[in-house]
């Protein structure tokens, strides 16, 4: 399961990065070579940057590459690693679910209901904002999965 999620996410991220790269190149090319700048590249680039950040954060948390700050000395953690990792996983899951999923779904619903559109592409912004709850779900999934893997590893 986790492998498949990773594989899909990797392809998605690659795709987003490609789109962003191409749109920025096209923006520079059309502005300085063709002299007739494209008006949509700006929006495409900024939306793909948002998606790259959010889905990239989910991917990084799956790979355990995300930023961590040591608040408790390592010696204390070594005494009860599962307990401390459990707390960390719970905090991450709580944030992902409450802020990103619940808050993000709310945001999407409001923008969808009120039909807000992006300025130049004129696509509903709710689609763009959907990345917030989706990446929240992924982060929650990854941290739960990581925790239970660790637990079974310790117990065996």
């Amino acid at each position: 399961m986790r492998k498949q999620v990773n594989a899909i996410l990797e392809k998605l991220l690659l795709g987003i990065l490609t789109v962003m790269l191409l749109s920025v190149i096209w923006q520079v090319f059309s502005r300085f070579v063709l002299g007739n700048p494209s008006t949509v590249t700006d929006e495409v680039a900024s939306f793909s940057l948002m998606w790259l950040g959010l889905y990239g954060a989910a991917y990084a948390s799956g790979k355990r590459l995300h930023l961590a700050i040591d608040l408790i000395p390592e010696r204390t953690i070594a005494k009860a690693p599962l307990f401390f990792h459990g707390i960390v996983a719970m905090a991450v899951v709580a944030f992902a679910l409450v802020v990103m999923v619940v808050g993000g779904v709310n945001l999407c619903l409001v923008t969808f209901q009120l039909q807000q559109q992006s300025a130049t592409l004129e696509i509903p912004l709710a689609y763009i904002y959907s990345a917030v709850p989706l990446s929240g779900l992924l982060i929650a999934y990854y941290s739960i999965d990581t925790f239970f893997k660790e637990k079974s590893l310790k117990q065996s």
Partner: protein
């Protein structure tokens, strides 16, 4: 014994803050303008009036200069009820309330008096109330003058002069379409980045009203200001419907009356600001020219048939035109 007295004193102090009079309601107002801007001063005036008429029960706290985000973000804050009042350009509103596109139609208003008549009329009120369907209730319009082109290398005397020039526009399809029809190459760039973009030649020119040309110091880079006055998109003051519902009928009336009064005050300030801006840029050596507007208006005829004849937007556009007659 002494200690007990200290604790009792401390506890007593805690209750000093409690009084029976109700706390004054504070409405938070966010906008993106500099504090020297006439529209900001009009909103300060609104706050003072509200404070006076409500005897301090309803006040406004202003967060200027985009402290709370860009105009689009503040509209979203209004929709979810996190912010009470905001001022945005009518061009930004188009993506929230489609009918506002009408106000961006080039040469819609014949002159300033026509624009004022529209804002004060029933049609103006209909625009403001349209927003309520999208949780954005309009309070009043603020005059934002009319927008003209300013360029680096050459003056714009006919639409042909725009040929091949990259012109910065707002992030709005109406503005993009207008520059395209006039023959220029529209480039959406955010307002804050425009000075360097002009300096480095990313764009050859931009378009805005006189006070903005002046306060942004773009006249240091652009030496030509051409009064073609293609559009006159007003600024709009909006209150979130969530906030509006929280106010009682008396407070709603106070807020509406204070807004109406601030509109009139702002018009005087605006005319003075335009005069001052013109003097400053002339002194700075900017060449000002007055092209024949009819040439530009002829090129933008296509906007007349932009809206579906059966749509609300078309009806509003016709109604605005009739007011001019």
């Amino acid at each position: 014994m002494r200690r007990g007295f200290h604790i009792a004193l401390l506890l007593g102090l805690l209750f000093l803050g409690c009084t029976t009079t109700p706390a004054p309601k504070i409405l938070r107002l966010g906008h993106g303008l500099d504090t020297n801007h006439p529209v900001h001063q009009a909103m300060v005036n609104l706050g003072e009036q509200l404070n006076a008429v409500s005897k301090g029960k309803l006040t406004v706290k202003i967060y200027p200069s985009g402290q709370l985000g860009a105009e689009r973000e503040m509209l979203e804050l209004l929709q979810i009820g996190s912010l009470d009042i905001t001022k945005v350009s009518g061009a930004v509103l188009e993506n929230f309330v489609p009918e506002y596109k009408v106000l961006s139609v080039p040469y819609l208003f014949k002159d300033r008096a026509h624009a004022y008549r529209v804002y004060d009329s029933d049609i103006g009120r209909q625009f403001l109330e349209k927003g309520a369907d999208y949780r954005l209730r309009g309070l009043c319009f603020y005059d934002a003058g009319s927008r003209s082109f300013y360029t680096k290398q050459r003056p714009i005397t006919t639409p042909q002069d725009l040929e091949g020039l990259k012109i910065r526009v707002q992030k709005s399809n109406m503005a993009v379409g207008m520059v395209k029809q006039l023959g220029g190459a529209p480039t959406p760039i955010s307002w804050g980045e425009l000075y360097t973009a002009l300096q480095q030649g990313v764009v050859d020119g931009a378009e805005n009203n006189l006070p903005s040309f002046h306060t942004s110091k773009h006249y240091e880079v652009c030496r030509f200001y051409s009064f073609d006055e293609h559009t006159a998109v007003p600024d709009v003051l909006l209150v979130g419907t969530e906030t509006w519902r929280r106010l009682n009928a008396q407070e709603q009336q106070w807020l509406q009356e204070a807004s109406d009064a601030s509109t009139l005050y702002q018009r005087k300030l605006w005319v003075a600001a335009e005069k001052e801006a013109l003097q400053t840029i002339e002194k700075a050596g900017v060449q000002i020219n007055y092209p024949d507007k009819a040439l530009f208006a002829a090129k933008t005829q296509a906007f007349d048939s932009l809206f579906d004849p059966a749509s609300e937007a078309h009806r509003l556009m016709q109604a605005i035109k009739e007011i001019a007659l």
